[in-house]
């Protein structure tokens, strides 16, 4: 308990009065125009106030202090109630905000000054008593009296409507807005709670509503690109807005709200628009619009997923259309023409198709690069799309074969940029599943009698394939190319050999190509009985070959040979370009004019199938070099053949084609067998490495390992595992039947 003496009371009253006067003065200064000048003068007298409080409080601590403390609070409250609220009541809208900002500034000044006067309290009274600091009191008073009814109820909405006005295109006072929101921040006393709850949240909600309205209008009125352009504009605007006059954390929230309304909500509807959606943009090659779409949707979570799906669908659709087109074309052509003509046209169509695939592939790659910023999501979509239609057979022809046809075509063609073309082909090739099948067909097609200088092209293609699929894949093909390279040197040596050994000369120009077994497809060798002239050639060459290399055996593949024969017909002498089989057959007629089917067959030593083919090509096809009795369409075993001396043609030199046996089935079977071995090898290799491995893991590792060459059928892998268990390469784990162990 403290005693007051009258002195103290007087002093206190004095100080209080002084304080109130000073306060009034301060207030009026603030109302006036010459604030800074008047404040400067005012300042000079403040030391009196301060020392007054000081002396008062120092002497009589508790009572005086608490009194001074509450006086302080009272003064502030009076100011708020009296001046501040009054002035705000009169204004509205933007004027209101301006007033608010000014009043707040004044208020802060007042709090600052009073805190100065009451500074003693700050240091001596407040810390020990766990009561709010002077500045806190200031804020609390303001919050308590002004916040709810003014800030939240009026100021916030007023600011928000200003923002909307700006969105609609009007210019607003941005600094004003910034100042208002700063009030919220300052009122928070360090935490952003008030700002976020009462300013940010309603503002964000408003933004959401605003853009939701706009979006609904735009989505029905605008095309997709138009919409996207508008969206981009809005987002740029909102970002600027956020940066300019809001707290920095708000910018992100605002932008993401807007993105949500403009992009996420309507994404599906927008992109799937009939005439202007994503697919039509892809069709019409609208690169800029697509790039914008990518840019904008990459901002939102999962925004690109739908785009990649639509992209994939589009590509698949285009690809399948090409496939269908080719399929229809092929079936219609088959109906129209006979076989050999159809074959030629068929090839044309196939080449065209692959060419179109490549075009499509390039176009899509272009999109991924230019519009989709090389995003791996889109590469994958592209790959998946191509895998769908690149692996569809056109009627009976598998895509692997189609590609082989195409490569063949390109290799033979001059005047094009082989390097680029091969690059494109190989890129397309990576989407084909049955790569090993392609390799087989490709090999089978490398015809031997077209040896122009396409070596370097072959090598170029090989190099590119090797790059993408590995050396193992191309090893056989490389063997083939090597043989062709050696061929020229060998031929030259052979010619020299003949020149130097005159008795070795067979009297006929002979060219031989030696193929290394294994590198080339296995051609059937048959025991054709050669006419003596040809037999001599073979002997000579064998002699030559033996002189060069030891321990090598030659098997002759006559089915692939060609002969140039001079035919002395009555009208005129002609040069005939024939297959060796055909030549052998014709030469028989040098010794007899008329022969039966069986005689010919016996003399030639070929199978019925081959004899049939040969005789058909010579008597029933375009060039009737032999007369057939009876003159029917097909060959039968009872037919008789005779030399047609009256045969002639417009040209001097003709080529008599011999249709090849369809090797296709054999190729496919061969590949299937190779695959079985490949899977076995893969499984053993993987198990040897891991020693113990679970079933699923083994399956997926096999898939991955073999995937570069072909897509293994999961049943095939299982069968091979089963087989390997039987052959005791693997066993099941005793405890877990889903785990395999390698048996060393």
């Amino acid at each position: 308990m403290e005693t007051h003496n009258t002195e103290d009371v007087t002093l206190m009253e004095e100080v209080v009065t002084m304080m109130m006067e000073a306060f009034k003065e301060l207030c009026s200064i603030l109302e006036g125009n010459q604030i800074s000048k008047d404040l400067f003068n005012f300042e000079k007298s403040t030391w009196r106030l301060y020392s007054g409080v000081y002396s008062l409080c120092r002497v009589n601590s508790n009572l005086c202090n608490s009194m001074m403390y509450s006086t302080y609070g009272d003064l502030l409250k009076e100011y708020i109630h009296g001046t501040l609220l009054q002035s705000l009541r009169l204004k509205q809208g933007e004027f209101f905000l301006k007033e608010l900002v000014t009043r707040w500034a004044h208020y802060k000044l007042i709090v600052g000054w009073l805190s100065n006067f009451f500074g003693y309290l700050e240091r001596q009274y407040i810390p020990g008593n766990s009561i709010p600091t002077l500045s806190d009191v200031g804020i609390n008073c303001f919050t308590h009296m002004v916040y709810g009814q003014i800030m939240c109820a009026i100021a916030s909405p007023a600011v928000i409507s200003l923002i909307d006005k700006e969105r609609d295109g009007m210019k607003i006072d941005r600094t004003l807005v910034m100042r208002v929101f700063r009030i919220f921040v300052e009122l928070g006393k360090g935490s952003m709670d008030l700002y976020e709850k009462d300013f940010e949240k309603p503002m964000l909600d408003d933004a959401r509503d605003y853009y939701s309205r706009k979006a609904s209008i735009w989505i029905s009125e605008c095309s997709c690109p138009e919409f996207m352009a508008k969206v981009e504009e809005c987002l740029i605007g909102e970002e600027k807005r956020g940066r300019c006059y809001m707290y920095h954390t708000t910018e992100k929230k605002l932008v993401s709200r807007v993105e949500n309304e403009l992009l996420v909500v309507h994404e599906t509807e927008l992109l799937e628009k009939e005439s202007s959606g994503l697919k039509s943009l892809l069709r019409d090659n609208k690169v800029d619009d697509l790039a914008r779409i990518y840019r904008l949707f990459s901002r939102v979570h999962d925004g690109l997923k739908l785009i990649s799906i639509l992209f994939k669908e589009h590509v698949t659709c285009e690809g399948m259309a090409l496939v269908k087109q080719a399929g229809d074309h092929e079936s219609s052509k088959k109906v129209e023409n006979k076989d050999h003509v159809a074959a030629g046209l068929l090839q044309e169509a196939q080449v065209l198709l692959i060419g179109r695939f490549i075009e499509l592939h390039d176009k899509c790659l272009g999109y991924v690069k230019d519009c989709f910023q090389n995003d791996s999501l889109f590469f994958r979509a592209l790959k998946e799309a191509f895998e769908v239609f690149c692996n569809k057979s056109i009627t009976a022809t598998s895509p692997a074969e189609l590609l082989a046809v195409y490569c063949d075509f390109i290799l033979k063609r001059g005047g094009i940029d082989h390097g680029t073309t091969f690059e494109q082909v190989v890129k397309l090739f990576t989407h084909v599943n049955e790569k090993d099948l392609f390799a087989e067909f490709h090999r089978a097609r490398r015809l031997l009698f077209d040896k122009n200088d396409s070596d370097e092209h072959e090598k170029c293609l090989m190099a590119k394939l090797k790059q993408h699929c590995g050396g193992l894949f191309t090893s056989k093909m490389e063997g083939m190319v090597t043989d062709l390279t050696i061929f020229r040197d060998m031929q030259k040596s052979f010619e020299e050999f003949i020149q130097s050994n005159s008795e070795a000369n067979p009297g006929i120009d002979l060219t031989v190509t030696v193929l290394t077994t294994g590198a080339w497809p296995s051609y059937k060798t048959c025991n054709l009985n050669l006419p003596p002239e040809m037999l001599r050639c073979v002997e000579v060459f064998e002699e030559f070959y033996r002189s060069r290399t030891k321990r090598r055996r030659l098997s002759w593949v006559y089915s692939l040979g060609t002969c140039k024969i001079i035919g002395h017909f009555e009208p005129k002498t002609m040069e005939l370009l024939l297959n060796t089989f055909q030549a052998a057959a014709l030469l028989l007629f040098n010794s007899s004019d008329r022969m039966s089917y069986s005689e010919i067959k016996d003399q030639l030593g070929l199978t019925d199938e081959d004899v049939n083919r040969v005789l058909h090509s010579l008597s029933c096809a375009k060039y009737k070099i032999l007369n057939k009795e009876p003159d029917s369409e097909n060959i039968s075993e009872t037919d008789y053949f005779s030399f047609n001396s009256k045969f002639t043609d417009r040209m001097r030199r003709i080529k008599v084609p011999l249709p090849q046996v369809d090797e296709r089935k054999k190729v496919v079977e061969g590949v299937a067998k190779d695959r079985r071995y490949a899977v076995d090898a893969a499984i053993v290799r993987i198990m040897k490495h891991h020693k113990v491995l679970g079933h699923q893991q083994l399956m997926s590792e096999c898939d991955e390992y073999l995937g570069r060459i072909f897509k293994p059928d999961f049943k095939l892998i299982k069968k091979r595992i089963e087989d390997l268990i039987g052959r005791e390469y693997l066993e099941r784990d005793a405890n877990d039947s889903n785990v395999y162990r390698y048996i060393a």
Binding site: H695, I721, E722, I725, N738
Partner: protein, 227 residues
């Protein structure tokens, strides 16, 4: 069989050095044992094929008729298992002894009596797995590792027919129809038992082809589902 080596500690029951009751007992039991073995051997000799030195197929047939069991009955297979017989259709003296001594059956009557016990023993889960595996190996000839489909079906019917009649019926039907497999290997054989034990039949709802089931079973399930 592994032998564990012991460096210390006693390895066997203590042997008393003085003669007495235990000795008597021992000699009594060993006498009984040797008596039993004698009878077992005698029995063996009634069926033995002299030229082979072991009981052959005819011997087995007469043996079976005396016991009153058909020679294709599963119980003969069980007996073979007990004997650990190696070659189908033949029992050596050692095998004969092993089986019958384990059963404590030295006469035909006793053998007959012990059959139900034997059956019970075999069908205990721990033993059945071993028996099942044994039956496959038993049917193999010298160089073989696999059994042809027809024999496998017959064997399955004998060995599993009473336990899993539905599965066996369907599976044998499938095996006879399909063309892919001409032989069955041990792994497929064992997997079938596991299949019967684990998979709901005939719903097949808990069969997962992505697991390590042999392909033959995948195909079987597929075929079943098509039915």
């Amino acid at each position: 069989m592994r032998r564990s080596t012991r460096k210390s500690g006693s390895a066997a029951a203590p042997v008393s050095s003085s003669p007495g009751v235990s000795d008597l007992f021992r000699s009594a039991t060993s006498k009984a044992v040797s008596k039993e073995m004698e009878r077992v051997d005698q029995l063996f000799h009634t069926y033995v094929d002299k030229s082979l030195g072991m009981v052959g197929p005819e011997g087995i047939e007469s043996f079976c008729s005396e016991i009153g069991v058909h020679h294709t009955d599963v119980r003969i297979l069980m007996l073979a298992w007990k004997m650990k017989a190696e070659k189908q259709g033949y029992f050596t003296l050692e095998e004969w002894r092993r089986g019958l001594m384990a059963l404590h059956a030295d006469t035909i009557i006793k053998i007959k009596k012990r059959m139900p016990d034997l059956e019970r023993e075999v069908t205990r889960p721990t033993n059945f797995l071993d028996f099942y595996a044994y039956s496959f190996r038993y049917c193999l000839t010298e160089k073989q590792k696999n059994i042809d489909v027809e024999s496998a079906c017959a064997l399955l019917t004998v060995v599993l027919g009473f336990r899993f009649p539905l599965q066996v019926e369907k599976f044998t039907e499938y095996l006879n129809r399909q063309q892919d497999y001409k032989v069955i290997n041990m792994d497929q054989w064992m997997s079938f038992l596991r299949f019967c034990n684990e998979i709901n039949f005939p719903s097949l709802d808990n069969y997962d082809a992505d697991l390590a089931w042999p392909l033959i079973l995948d195909n079987f399930v597929e075929w079943m589902r098509e039915q």
